[in-house]
């Protein structure tokens, strides 16, 4: 059984009196411990697919089995619970809470998982140390560089021991040097901790860190191959 199984997933948005089809029947299996890059031109539906995979959005039709559980018809609260326990997100725009220290940002997933406060702090500190921000724990997001903010976001994504990490253009706002740092972090997470990583990017350099590259064109899978490093 795969960690992620998508069958005939479609997504449409109503447009005037018709439906605008964004995803046109996606079939996809992703195994535990894989590192997948999803590529494709802008507007091809990468983010839409990512949102469905990440349980932030529901497909129009099709079935989605995540870790052995059907999720396409779950309620908002049930999806929130799955996101909390199984999924970590890293966004292009970092999406940290402003006026909230790095430490408290990393504690956030544990707040909603009802982890006791003392344990939260300890685990958050450990996660921040692992991404190299030991000295910056009490900084606010606006006191951190883009690369540092993204590392806080990565710490937040892994702190709850979520087995899957979704990253939508995580290096889109970063320069090359910072991008390399971030991608090395993902590689380490995948290789050392066995986290499954699914990454959306339109840059070949970034995609080459992955083990598998899926190309999407116009809402359909165009190619799906192992990455030869």
């Amino acid at each position: 059984m795969s960690l992620i199984e998508l069958k005939h997933i479609t997504k449409s948005y109503p447009l005037e009196d018709t439906q605008l089809k964004i995803l046109k029947g996606i079939n996809l299996n992703i195994e535990k411990g894989d590192f997948v890059a999803i590529m494709g031109p802008s507007g091809s539906g990468k983010s839409t697919l990512m949102n469905i995979l990440g349980c932030l959005d529901k497909p129009t039709s099709g079935t989605y089995v995540l870790d052995g559980q059907r999720v396409e018809n779950l309620s908002a609260d049930e999806l929130a619970d799955i996101r909390n326990r199984k999924i970590g997100f890293v966004f292009q725009g970092f999406n940290l809470l402003s006026r909230t220290s790095a430490l408290e940002n990393v504690e956030l997933p544990m707040v909603y998982a009802n982890v006791p406060a003392a344990q939260r702090e300890e685990r958050a500190k450990k996660a921040l140390t692992k991404v190299g921000l030991r000295e910056r724990m009490y900084h606010m997001p606006n006191q951190l560089s883009g690369g540092q903010q993204q590392r806080v976001a990565i710490a937040r994504a892994v702190v709850n021991e979520a087995p899957i990490i979704f990253a939508d253009e995580p290096t889109g706002n970063l320069d090359t040097k910072m991008s390399v740092e971030i991608m090395n972090l993902f590689t380490k997470l995948n290789e050392d901790l066995g986290r499954t990583i699914i990454l959306v990017t339109h840059e070949d350099d970034i995609a080459h860190y992955a083990k598998r590259i899926i190309r999407i064109v116009d809402g359909e899978i165009h190619s799906d191959e192992k990455n030869e490093k």
């Binding site: 949102n51 990440g54 932030l56 959005d57 908002a76 609260d77 929130a80 619970d81 996101r83 909390n84 326990r85 997100f89 966004f91 999406n95 940290l96 809470l97 402003s98 006026r99 909230t100 956030l108 997933p109 707040v111 909603y112 998982a113 009802n114 406060a117 937040r156 709850n160």
Partner: protein, 409 residues
Amino acid sequence: MIDARTIFSIATRAIKANKMRSILTSLGIIIGVAAVIVMLSVGHGAQTSIQNEMKTMGSNLIIIRSGVATSSGARSGHGSKPTMKKSDGDAIQEKIEAIKLAAPVLEETTQIVYGNANWSTGVTGTDRRMFEIKEWNLSYGRMFSSTDIRSAAKVAILGQTVVNELFGDVDPLGKTIRIKGIPFQVIGVLIPRGQSGNGMDQDDVVYIPITTAQKKVMGISFPDQVKMIMLQAIDSQSTYTAQEEIRELLRQRHNLGVNKEDDFVIRNLTQMMEMMESSTKVMTILLGSIASISLLVGGIGIMNIMLVSVTERTREIGIRMAIGAKAWDIRWQFLTESLVLSLIGGLVGVVIGLLGSYLVGVFSSLPTKVSLLYVLLPFSFSGMVGLFFGFYPAYKASLLNPINALRYE
């Protein structure tokens, strides 16, 4: 659900981030709570003082005033046309067995002068029956004699406060004071009674013969006019049962035809107390509802600012949802924020309200009395306002779709 301490710290952080706005938002609550406390303490104080005042007036008392009583009994006849005469009282005392004494009262507040000293106080024209009803004896000097009354003598009996103010250490007996420029000889000084329950100084009084008051000191519009008559009945039961008899006698004496209303009001102490209480109750309810309206307006202000806050923080809500916040987590977050906001307002309102009641008590004639209930009531009400008006914004926040919320700029 997330733990209370965390949710509380999230709420206070958001409130601190917008200090000025939070203060302005809670202003309605602050004013509302403070107003409720002041109103309740004034109402409570008035009631207590009425009860205390009644206790000091004398036992088995009936009071007759000029005026028309409405069916509700709410009008006591103040300011209406005078109709009572001293002779009415004399007739009642003579003809009605249940009535022992009838003291006439004609009073006015005026300036009293002795040498260089002057003092403003209430001057009451009456006769010795007043002191019998009040069971109030002289400390020294003599009482009004029948001759004083018959001849409208210019003699006065003083309370201890007036003596202190005008004479200091000098012996007042036999000295001449001026009331409205008219010379009066001091013939007696009353035993000090101290303050009444509501803080009124009972010794701040001057008594002169009723006839002197009528003929020489106070303006009257017909002969033998008095302001009111104080009656003492033989027992407390008679203060009720004698009323009909008194009424018939007075109607006859005032030549009131069958279709004419009474031109006087008869009340015993219990009835007077009930009447005064009902009028302060009306006042308390009225003022209380004004305060409730400001609490309501304060609540709407909180709802408004919470809606703004939810919109401003759409992205934050999106992040929290993506990370695993459930609908109730988001709801509690915003509910707690509006609750804390309104409770802070409530707390400041309590402080201002207590200060306000104190100042009203000190600087106005209204007695005020604060009780724990009257503080807890508006405070907890402010909390309910926060929850009630915070619910809709919190509910709205919890319905956001995480993707749209994350995309919100």
